[in-house]
Every structure is written in structure tokens, then in C-alpha cells.
């Protein structure tokens, strides 16, 4: 019996001590019209404030609603000087608009506004109004370069579809420069992982069920972004009982209904993941699958309105569907 006591004590010590090796730190703040929550391990004092300041500074440049932002001035005056960062971001966003052939369009903002999604005072614009607005949508008419940008009369730019993705990469860089090797950034549902968990396992990211309260499954994430677009958080039901969500098809001016209710894109480049999640939502299932086949430089999870989850082959064996879920999971073929 005497031998037993130290053995049990040692065992208890081993089992309880491992979990408290490195303390988790958190930074929680509101920025870019959303709630951001960052957890990280290590790093110097004041790191949380540094992250919050970086988010606020980017918002100050990009906000469509803050009157003195670079983007607000561009929208008001049709021409504005841009900081290096805003120019880089706008150029990157326009590249993605071109690559997606306008499924993502940074000039769709007047339509989003007409439907009341910017104020919460939702309405269904009549056809004439929509037609007028669609005539003022077209990323191809935005000129940018040499530290400034210009728009035709009546056009408006909003970088909201890519800004959180870009910010994730930016904050991840700040953390890494300060020696943080393990962090998870939740920027209003746009998830960016830095390294892996302190125990060496990948971060586990759940994907929201667009049709219910729970999740559709989880996937591992290391040093990448997972960005989701769906119609389930910002929407309203019109007088005819039709659901109208905030993702507008730039080609029609109406909420995008192409058979998808949620799109998640996983990849290295945050801006690209964020923008692509919106673009694929607008494209719909068939076009998204061919878009992916032509590139294969990102992973994706498409949720269709007929209860299917389509995943790219790289997620096969990685994506774990929620137990008891009514969705059927299909892996996109290589043909």
C-alpha cells in the first residue's frame, strides 16, 4: 500500500498539470459592423490593443458609412486619393471581380442599399428602380492606380465582401511578427487560423447550418482562412412570403437565388476566400463546381437548397458531417 500512494499522486499530477502550460489570451472588440474575437497564446503585453487598433484603422479607411473614410469620399465625390493599403485592397478585389466574371462585384452596393440591408429598413424595390440601379453596377468602370480611384456618376464601391478576409491575414501577420505561433481569429464568422492549437492538433472549425440552429459539420484548419457566405443571418420575408437575403446578384439586382444556401471557402489567401464565398453563392452549384475544377487552389463546401453538402476532394476525410444531420454529403468528382 505504501508504494501505491506516491504512484497515484504522481499520476494525478501528470494528468492535471499539462493543461495549464500556456495561458490563453483573448481580444474581443466590435469593428466593421461585426463582433471580432481573437484567442492567442503567448505574445507581448498590449497585443490585444494592437489588434483592435489595426482593425479600427482599416475600418476608418474602408467604411462606406463613416463620412471621412477613403471609400466614402470616393463614393461621394466620384474620385478620391487612396492610401497604399486601400489601393492594394481595391486592386485585389477588382482582380477577383474579373476572375469571377462579375459574380463578385464591388459596385453592387446601390442595390444592397435599395433593398434596405444597409439600414435594416427592408423593402422590395419596384422593377424600374432595380433596372435603374443595375445600370450603375459594373466593376469594369472603376479605375484605380497611381494612388487614386475614380467612379462614374452614381456608382458606389463597398469592399465589405473582402475586407474581413483581408483583415484576418493582416492581424495574423501582426501576431506572427510578435512571436505568436498559435491563434484563432473569429472576425464575425470569418475564421483565420495561425498555426495550430498549442497541443499540436489543428483548430477545429464548425460550419453553421444555414437552415437551422446547429452546425453541418466540422473541419480542421491550420494557417488558413475559412470564409462562409449564406443568406440566413441578414434577410427578410417580403409581403408575398418570399425570403430576400442580403447577397445580391450584381447582374439582376435581386437577391441571388442559384440553388445554394451557404458557401464556405477554405484557403491561404483571406481576401480571396472571403470574396469567393460570395461569388460562388451568386454563381450557384454548376458554375461553382466548374470554377473550382479550373483552379483547384482552394477547398469549398457548398450547401444546396435541396439538402446536399458538396465538398471538394481535398476535404474528403477532413470534413466531419454532424452526427444525425439530414444532409447528404457528396464529394465533387474530378471529371
Amino acid at each position: 500500500m505504501k508504494k501505491l500512494i506516491p504512484a497515484v499522486l504522481l499520476l494525478a499530477l501528470v494528468l492535471t498539470s499539462c493543461s495549464s502550460l500556456r495561458a490563453e489570451k483573448t481580444a474581443d472588440f466590435f469593428a466593421m459592423d461585426t463582433y471580432m474575437s481573437v484567442k492567442y497564446y503567448g505574445g507581448p503585453d498590449g497585443e490585444s490593443e494592437k489588434l483592435e487598433t489595426a482593425a479600427a484603422e482599416l475600418e476608418k479607411k474602408l467604411s462606406v458609412t463613416k463620412e471621412d473614410s477613403e471609400i466614402a469620399r470616393l463614393n461621394r465625390d466620384g474620385r478620391a486619393k487612396l492610401s497604399g493599403e486601400t489601393e492594394k485592397l481595391l486592386t485585389g478585389a477588382l482582380d477577383l471581380c474579373r476572375e469571377t466574371e462579375g459574380a463578385l462585384d464591388v459596385t453592387v452596393y446601390p442595390a444592397v442599399r435599395a433593398w434596405g440591408f444597409t439600414t435594416g429598413e427592408h423593402r422590395v424595390p419596384d422593377k424600374d428602380e432595380i433596372d435603374g440601379i443595375v445600370g450603375k453596377i459594373g466593376y469594369g468602370n472603376v479605375t484605380v492606380g497611381g494612388g487614386e480611384a475614380a467612379l462614374p456618376d452614381g456608382y458606389m464601391v463597398d469592399l465589405g465582401a473582402v475586407a474581413k478576409g483581408y483583415l484576418g491575414d493582416k492581424l495574423a501577420e501582426i501576431l506572427k511578427e510578435d512571436g505568436v505561433t498559435s491563434a484563432l481569429l473569429d472576425l464575425g464568422g470569418n475564421i483565420r487560423a495561425v498555426g495550430e492549437k498549442p497541443d499540436g492538433s489543428p483548430w477545429r472549425i464548425a460550419v453553421r447550418d444555414p437552415a437551422g440552429d446547429g452546425v453541418i459539420g466540422t473541419l480542421p484548419l491550420r494557417d488558413e482562412t475559412a470564409a462562409t457566405s449564406g443568406g440566413y443571418e441578414r434577410y427578410f420575408v417580403d409581403e408575398d412570403g418570399e425570403i430576400r437575403w442580403h447577397i445580391i446578384d450584381p447582374a439582376t439586382g435581386y437577391p441571388a437565388k442559384a440553388g445554394l444556401i451557404s458557401v464556405t471557402v477554405i484557403g491561404k489567401d483571406g481576401l480571396r476566400c472571403d470574396g469567393l464565398s460570395t461569388a460562388l453563392f451568386v454563381m450557384g452549384r454548376e458554375k461553382s463546381v466548374s470554377f473550382w475544377r479550373e483552379r483547384r487552389d482552394f477547398e469549398m463546401i457548398l450547401v444546396t437548397d435541396d439538402g446536399k453538402i458538396l465538398i471538394s476532394p481535398g476535404l474528403s476525410g477532413m470534413f466531419e458531417p454532424e452526427k444525425g444531420s439530414s444532409y447528404s454529403v457528396e464529394v465533387i468528382g474530378n471529371d
Partner: protein, 125 residues
């Protein structure tokens, strides 16, 4: 022979203690479904969802006027009513699995899991 029996006894005991500790640790983890209600950056209420026995509704005033009604039920919590313009917080539905926070931006209200995460580390949405 006696020595062998003693050793078998010790090993059995250590194994039993290991098993008990494992059960204890995992049960403890699952029980940690505690959420914080945060208004304007301050924690105004902490609720252990597993200890809620009946549905109760709390009125949380917003710093700039207005309010949210937060309903707590066994194992889950939601914003049941709000006078904010967009009502996104109400649409977010029940928070039960502790992955994503419920947020009301206009009222600076956040309902988030307290302490360690359960299940997933974050939720893409």
C-alpha cells in the same frame, strides 16, 4: 506468488484511478456550458446552461437606449425579442453548442461561451 498478487492489485488500482480520472475530466469538460451576457463590453450576467431548470426571460437594457429580451432555457439561450433595427440577434436563434456568439451590434450585446471552448474552436458563418 504473493508479490505477484500485490503487483496485479497495484496495476488494477492504478488502472481504475486512470479510468475514474478520465471520466471525471471529460464529464467536467462537457459540463462547462457556461455563457456570459456582455453589454457594452461588461459582463452583466453569467449563466450555466446545464443548471437552468425552467425558461426565464431577462430584459437587458442597451447603453444608448433600447433593449433585448434574453431567454434562458435548459441547455440553451437566445435573444427572444429586441427593438434594434435589424433583429439579426433574434434570427441567430438558440445558442446551445457553444461555437458562435450571439451578437446584437446596434445594442452592443454579446452572448458568448465563457471559458474554454466545447466541441469546435470557432464557427464559420
Amino acid at each position: 506468488m504473493i508479490k505477484t498478487k500485490v503487483w496485479i492489485g497495484i496495476i488494477a488500482l492504478v488502472a481504475a484511478v486512470c479510468a475514474a480520472l478520465t471520466v471525471f475530466i471529460f464529464a467536467g469538460r462537457r459540463k462547462g456550458r457556461t455563457v456570459e451576457i456582455v453589454s457594452d463590453g461588461k459582463v452583466v450576467m453569467t449563466v450555466d446552461l446545464d443548471r437552468v431548470t425552467e425558461e426565464t426571460t431577462y430584459d437587458i437594457p442597451a447603453p444608448g437606449g433600447g433593449h433585448n429580451l434574453v431567454t434562458v432555457a435548459p441547455g440553451k439561450i437566445c435573444v427572444s425579442e429586441a427593438d434594434c433595427p435589424d433583429k439579426t440577434c433574434v434570427r441567430m436563434g438558440w445558442l446551445s453548442d457553444g461555437n458562435a456568439p450571439i451578437v446584437c451590434l446596434p445594442h452592443k450585446l454579446v452572448i458568448r461561451p465563457a471559458g474554454g471552448s466545447q466541441g469546435a474552436d470557432a464557427e464559420a458563418r
